[in-house]
């Protein structure tokens, strides 16, 4: 077996092996049991709550949870816009970079608050170190927000009737301090040892061996890159993200960064099983997600390792694969694996430029974001998957002619309506947004948006909207997106694509939690079985195909057949 493939297998199985114990630990954190981190971090959290005048033991209803979440997110959003628009005169700006324009600050602030990290700027020239560090703060808290929402879901699905579901601030802070922070520290240490910089000095100037004078951007990279992955944020320190040799210096750091971004989403699935003491259900969810993941990632590895077929006709040696936009130290295999990993779990950090991947690889990257629940981002992945589960339960109930039930709670019209609304929002935002962009471009053909002609140009716009809605943050980066149209349109897509898919599932979970618990009987639909797993998978496949096939046919599929 080639060393490229063994590297991919190592990346996957190392994460799987580490996510199991981490999942158990996360379940203990959210159920308030004692853990080994209590002695150090417990007093710190108590201090934070005392300063903030928060009673962390006060139970909240699902509505109060959402109010707390939206309020604190609003605080972050306003503060971030202020920082980004005033970086030029604020401290920690050794390179003298300018402040952001209003529309760019609007887009960037939303993008980082919602854990997306679409970047319409380049880190080298678009941010001061203060700006970078501020975004690093959002890396932590935006991931913590998603995880806190997942914890509310866990709490709501327990076998009891209740309207209160724990305390939002408690879930949020512990997600940040007990889970994200320790993993980030370990990741930073590994990156530092491999040569990722961590300095507050500005640009360096050197004369190369050939005699050219070049400047080199540096900065506090290591700490930033660690949490960028652990929190499935994905916003890069440098413009080229994790293809940049200072963000990702070696093959070893590539493995570290891949494990770091994958481990929390995977552990959350294990934690779901442990927390509810329904390990078979957890295994079923993991199984469905993994099948979907493999169906997307295996073709990409094959396409990218085989190389660009049009370039093959030029007669050159394609044994390295399709190397446009890829780095030699990663190789085409690991780059392809990364391209799907980062899109299923909503990280959006890239180890290769997606714009230059093969047409059907690009389609799989799009599909991964359109489904957005195969593992999914920190916490929110499970919320998206929960919506698919509710729809599957409803359809299965119709098929066998019973009132649908999930974990001992009746699923009724109101819950199904919310699930439908939440699911249908994605195609509306993605395709409505793309249609608006395409229409604008037809009206003004001279707009310098597209970096590629024809079908691929359409894919660039489709990708940007999909990435915004999925809160992913990767891009077909050829798109000229730092202008008011893209900054503002994706800004709104980002907001809706973040908060509706959190509020929807939490509302359903809250409503279910308030219902009477019906113990399992012979007539209950068993949800932890292979049959139900296939049912969920079919629901995901059918919903995705029906919603997105026409758009995909105009972009990547048409490009594939034209090559």
């Amino acid at each position: 077996m080639s060393t490229e493939l063994s590297g991919i297998l190592a990346a996957f199985f190392i994460t799987l092996a580490m996510a199991w114990p981490l999942g158990r630990y996360i379940a203990r954190i959210y159920s308030g049991e004692r853990t080994w981190t209590d002695p150090v971090l417990g007093p710190l959290e108590k201090l934070f709550f005392r300063i903030s005048r928060i009673d962390a033991s006060q139970e909240m209803t699902w509505q109060e949870h959402m109010k707390a979440m939206l309020t604190i997110n609003l605080v972050w959003l306003l503060a971030t816009v202020f920082v980004l628009m005033n970086m030029a005169w604020l401290p920690l700006n050794p390179d003298g970079n300018p402040s952001m324009s209003a529309d760019l600050a609007f887009n960037t602030a939303i993008s980082f608050v919602v854990n997306c990290n679409l970047q319409h700027y380049s880190g080298e020239s678009g941010l001061s170190y203060l700006g970078q560090i501020w975004l690093m703060f959002l890396h932590f808290v935006s991931a913590g927000t998603g995880m806190a929402a997942a914890a509310v879901l866990f709490n709501a699905l327990r076998e009891r009737q209740s309207t209160t579901l724990g305390n939002f601030y408690d879930y949020f802070l512990k997600s940040c301090t007990r889970i994200l922070l320790p993993i980030s520290v370990v990741t930073t240490l590994l990156l530092l040892a491999e040569g990722t910089p961590m300095t507050f000095e500005g640009k360096d100037s050197i004369v190369t061996l050939q005699g050219d004078t070049v400047q080199v951007s540096r900065g506090p990279v290591a700490a930033f890159v660690a949490i960028k992955h652990v929190g499935t944020n994905g916003g890069g320190f440098f413009g080229a993200n994790s293809t940049h040799p200072l963000e990702n210096p070696t093959y070893f750091t590539s493995l570290v960064e891949m494990v770091a971004q994958f481990i929390v989403p995977l552990a959350m699935v294990f934690a779901f099983g442990f927390y509810l003491k329904r390990r078979r259900l957890g295994a079923m969810v993991l199984g469905v997600m993994t099948v979907g993941f493999l169906l997307l990632v295996i073709p990409n590895i094959v396409f990218e390792m085989n190389g660009n077929p049009t370039i093959s006709t030029m007669g050159i040696d394609q044994s390295s694969g399709a190397m446009e936009g890829k780095e030699v130290r990663l190789g085409s295999g690991l780059s392809a694996y990364w391209s799907i990993l980062t899109t299923v779990i909503s990280t959006g950090s890239v180890g290769a430029m997606h714009d230059s991947t093969m047409p059907l690889s690009g389609m799989n990257e799009l599909l991964a974001m359109m489904v957005n629940g195969l593992y999914g981002g920190c916490g929110v992945g499970l919320l998206n998957f929960f919506i698919y589960v509710i729809i599957a339960v409803f359809i299965a109930g119709l098929m066998v002619g019973r009132t649908p039930e999930f974990l001992g709670k009746k699923v009724e019209a109101r819950e199904v309506k919310i699930a439908m609304f939440t699911t249908l929002l994605s195609p509306l935002l993605i395709m409505g947004g793309t249609a608006l962009a395409a229409w604008t471009l037809v009206q003004h053909p001279d707009l310098p948006w597209l970096n590629n002609p024809g079908f691929h140009g359409f894919s660039e716009m489709l990708y940007e909207m999909t990435s915004a809605n999925a809160n992913n943050g990767s891009g077909f980066e050829g798109l000229g997106d730092n202008n008011p149209f893209w900054n503002i349109s994706t800004g709104f897509v980002l907001l809706l694509g973040r908060f509706i898919p959190i509020i929807g599932p939490i509302a359903i979970a809250g409503l279910l939690a308030g219902k009477k618990y019906i113990p399992e009987s012979t007539g209950t639909l068993k949800v932890d079985t292979l049959t139900f797993g296939i049912m969920i998978f079919s629901v995901i496949a059918i919903l995705t195909a029906l919603s997105y096939f026409p758009a995909l046919a105009l972009g990547p599929i048409a490009e594939y057949f034209s090559m």
């Binding site: 060393t3 063994s6 710190l44 934070f48 300063i51 928060i54 309020t71 605080v75 972050w76 080298e124 560090i133 690093m136 703060f137 932590f140 530092l192 040892a193 910089p197 961590m198 300095t199 507050f200 360096d204 050197i206 061996l209 050939q210 070049v214 080199v216 413009g239 080229a240 293809t243 040799p245 200072l246 093959y251 049009t310 370039i311 030029m314 050159i316 040696d317 399709a322 190397m323 446009e324 780095e327 030699v328 130290r329 990663l330 190789g331 430029m353 714009d355 230059s356 991947t357 093969m358 970096n451 590629n452 002609p453 079908f455 691929h456 140009g457 894919s459 077909f476 050829g478 490009e559």
Partner: protein, 187 residues
């Protein structure tokens, strides 16, 4: 919502202290201790001066040096980026064909099927420091001719600077271009 504004703001301030001050400063401190060049990025010195960053690729276009890969940004280390050209873009495909022709013109005797794809495609960062061993070997004859040295010595040099997979098991085999060219100059 109103009753949440004060606690949310205060909790945000606490988190800022932890994640924006304590965390980065602690990591900065560790970087001073364990990071190469005190966490400022590993540099390479030769001829009594700094000639580059170990991890960052630089432009080599002269025939006496091993060429680096094409770069969409001309190895500009303050503006990293890939070309973002789509696989079916006609202009892009023309560029690739031109790169193949240029390469063969500078390396007479080399056939197209000996030219590996990474030598005619731009990297993701525009700063790729590496080549595959084949991409270095295919330039060996040119280097030997221009520098008037034994081709076997150039081959030997490539072999000596080839880095195998991680632990011999994982990932591609690479050659660092700057390192290789420094070794050439030292011959």
């Amino acid at each position: 919502m109103k009753q949440h504004i004060l606690p949310a703001t205060l909790l945000t301030l606490c988190c800022l202290v932890l994640f924006n001050i304590i965390y980065p400063l602690a990591m900065y401190g560790v970087g001073l201790l364990i990071g190469p060049n005190n966490g400022k990025g590993e540099i390479v010195a030769a001829r009594g001066r700094t000639v580059g960053y170990a991890r960052l690729g630089q432009s080599f276009t002269e025939d006496r040096y091993f060429w680096s890969r094409p770069s969409a940004v001309g190895y500009n280390a303050v503006g990293s980026a890939g070309s973002n050209k789509g696989p079916s873009n006609p202009d892009y495909l023309k560029t690739v064909q031109e790169r193949i022709d240029t390469f063969i013109a500078h390396n007479p005797g080399i056939r197209a099927d000996q030219v590996p794809s990474e030598l005619v495609t731009a990297s993701g960062s525009g700063l790729d420091p590496d080549l595959s061993p084949q991409a270095a070997r295919v330039q060996a004859a040119r280097i030997a001719r221009v520098r008037q040295i034994d081709p076997a010595r150039v081959e030997q040099l490539i072999k000596a600077h080839t880095k195998g997979p991680l632990l011999g098991l994982f990932g591609p085999t690479t050659v660092n271009v700057l390192e290789l060219n420094l070794a050439l100059d030292a011959l």
